[in-house]
């Protein structure tokens, strides 16, 4: 593929368009699925009973003994 002018880049431009469409679809999908609302609840989804909210879950090994439940 010796590129002498921009038209020879058409296959790549097509691929780029496809990628762009995927990105826009992702944004559309996220909006439709409610990913862009109710932010407070979403921020808490990382906490579970094993690593609950309100508990520090990491400290230096020597200090860990004091923090154990």
């Amino acid at each position: 593929m010796d590129v002498d002018n921009y038209t020879e880049l058409l296959p790549l431009i097509t691929l780029g368009v496809i990628f762009f469409i995927i990105a826009v679809s992702a944004l559309y999908w996220s909006a439709k699925k409610g990913q862009l609302r109710n932010f407070d609840a979403q921020a808490k989804t990382i906490f579970t009973d094993e690593e609950p909210e309100g508990e520090i879950s990491d400290s230096f090994p020597s200090k860990q003994k004091n923090k154990n439940n």
Binding site: V3, G34, T45, D49, E55, I56, P61
Partner: protein, 492 residues
């Protein structure tokens, strides 16, 4: 645990024990353990190899005759071997370890297709080893960030594709509807990197585009590796681990989503600022500058969000090995990105272009930001996977201080020296050779900082090896994460 049972109607389904479909975190950790350990060990091996190349290259910058008797130890080859060992060896392996582990945890399901990950990992490391040998042997290409010779790259591309497919599968079979912001970052990065890598390979190595299109592609790729691969992975890790360790949700989830989409929209154009002053269409450069300056928005957003999330809990940050590293990295992200936006301005770029300032900037980004956050990620991940405690708090502290001080010295030395170098190069009164000689003290300072980083890396590698291989000498993991089975009741 009792809270979740008595109060099951109002709580988030994500923390519910009654949702039998949703796996416990320790179960997920166990399911991805062998793959993650493989990647961590590979990453640390490459980190040590890359450090040796880095020291060689740094010494050669002020002692040109040092170790120059062999062709394979000449500056050009050693420097490129350093870059590839660090970016593709350390960087990608640690991303595959930490990033994929976070992805698995957020999908709340034990992982499938672990074999796919292991095969990809083995291919990746074989391809990279062949590539680095190729570079040292003299088959290096002349394209920055794509120095690996063409015979090694298909292996890298294939193994990368496997990782990407794995990521999509993991996401497809997740439990639950919510997609946490870290998942957005990690998924997007898994989607962007193969696109970048394959296009760059095709247009530069396999069927080279001619003329300036090639350099535009080159810098589009090289800068996007930082911005659309390393950056989202590190930010995803920070967005997961900062609230996780502190037990407090991120300050503003809204801002985090805004920051993600702003990065996704603006970053792609930014790389052209490497070619300011070059013979490419001026509108393209201007577009690159605009995009680079627009990056201030996501950077400030992320900076505010991270800062507000830890505010008031600074003692807890300091007590956590994970957060010491991650908060250092998060602060560096703000600093390095604002510096980068400023460097994209034509008037600033006139001084910094072709100087050590840029080298300082790269290390600021890839080391002070990305690498420090990934160190933090490993500090959180390994105890949970191995159910063992870190053997030595002292080694963690040595690691932190050597790396934090080392990278600070390096960035200050290279950027001060680079700025002076740039001013002198723009001054026609000063002979070029003098501008070169005047950089020597700063380059020596860089070598000293390199020795400090080496000390940190040795401490880190020692601690990891101790933890992995001296099981009897290491305390079992205890503490608030409740990983031992007795405390989980009948859930497993």
């Amino acid at each position: 645990m009792s809270v979740s049972q008595s109060n099951s109607s109002s709580e988030s389904p994500y923390s519910s024990n009654s949702e039998a479909v949703r796996a416990e975190l320790s179960e997920i950790d166990a399911s991805i353990r062998s793959a993650s350990l493989f990647f961590v060990i590979s990453a640390i091996s490459w980190l040590m190899i890359g450090t040796v190349f880095a020291l060689l290259a740094a010494f050669k910058a002020h002692e040109p005759d040092f170790a120059s008797a062999f062709e394979f130890l000449t500056f050009g080859r050693v420097r490129s071997a350093h870059l590839n060992a660090m970016a593709l060896g350390w960087g990608n392996n640690v991303i595959f370890a930490v990033g994929l582990w976070i992805m698995a945890r957020l999908c709340r399901a034990p992982i499938h297709h672990k074999g796919m990950l292991l095969i990809a990992g083995i291919f990746w490391n074989i391809g990279l080893t062949v590539g680095i040998f190729g570079i040292l042997k003299g088959d290096i290409t002349s394209v920055e960030w794509l120095e690996i010779p063409h015979y090694a790259t298909p292996l890298l591309a294939i193994s990368y594709a496997l990782i990407g497919v794995w990521g999509i599968l993991a996401f497809r079979f997740r439990k639950g509807d919510h997609v946490y912001v870290s998942q957005w970052y990690i998924l997007a990065a898994l989607f962007w990197f193969p696109w970048l890598y394959v296009i760059a390979q095709i247009m530069i190595i396999w069927f080279p585009a001619r003329g300036v299109v090639q350099s535009v592609t080159n810098w589009w790729f090289a800068h996007n590796v930082l911005g659309l691969w390393l950056t989202p992975m590190a930010l995803g890790t920070a967005y997961y681990l900062i609230p996780k360790v502190l037990g407090r949700p991120i300050y503003s989830y809204y801002l985090s989503v805004l920051g993600f989409w702003a990065l996704a929209i603006f970053y792609n154009w930014a790389g052209v600022h490497h070619l300011i002053g070059g013979p490419i269409p001026v509108w393209l450069i201007s577009a690159g500058i605009v995009a680079s300056v627009m990056m201030v928005i996501p950077v400030i957003v992320v900076g505010i969000n991270h800062h507000m999330s830890v505010v008031g809990l600074h003692k807890e940050v300091w007590r956590s090995p994970t957060l010491r590293f991650i908060v250092f990295g998060a602060i560096s992200y703000t600093l390095v990105s604002l510096t980068g936006s400023a460097m994209a301005l034509r008037s600033v770029n006139e001084v910094t272009h072709f100087t050590h300032f840029t080298v300082g900037h790269s290390h600021h980004g890839v080391y002070a930001f990305f690498t420090m956050i990934m160190f933090g990620g490993v500090y959180y991940m390994l105890p949970r996977m191995l159910k063992r405690e870190w053997p030595s708090a002292m080694l963690i502290k040595i690691h932190f201080w050597a790396c934090a001080l080392g990278i600070t010295v390096m960035v200050i030395a290279l950027q001060t020296g680079g700025w002076i170098q740039g001013l002198e190069m723009n001054n026609a009164e000063i002979a070029f050779l003098d501008t070169v000689k005047n950089t020597i003290p700063w380059l020596k300072a860089r070598s000293i900082s390199g020795v400090m980083l080496t000390i940190g890396h040795i401490a880190f590698a020692t601690n990891v090896a101790w933890m992995l291989f001296a099981a009897g000498a290491v305390r079992a993991k205890q503490g608030p994460t409740l990983l031992d089975d007795t405390q989980k009741g009948g859930i497993v």
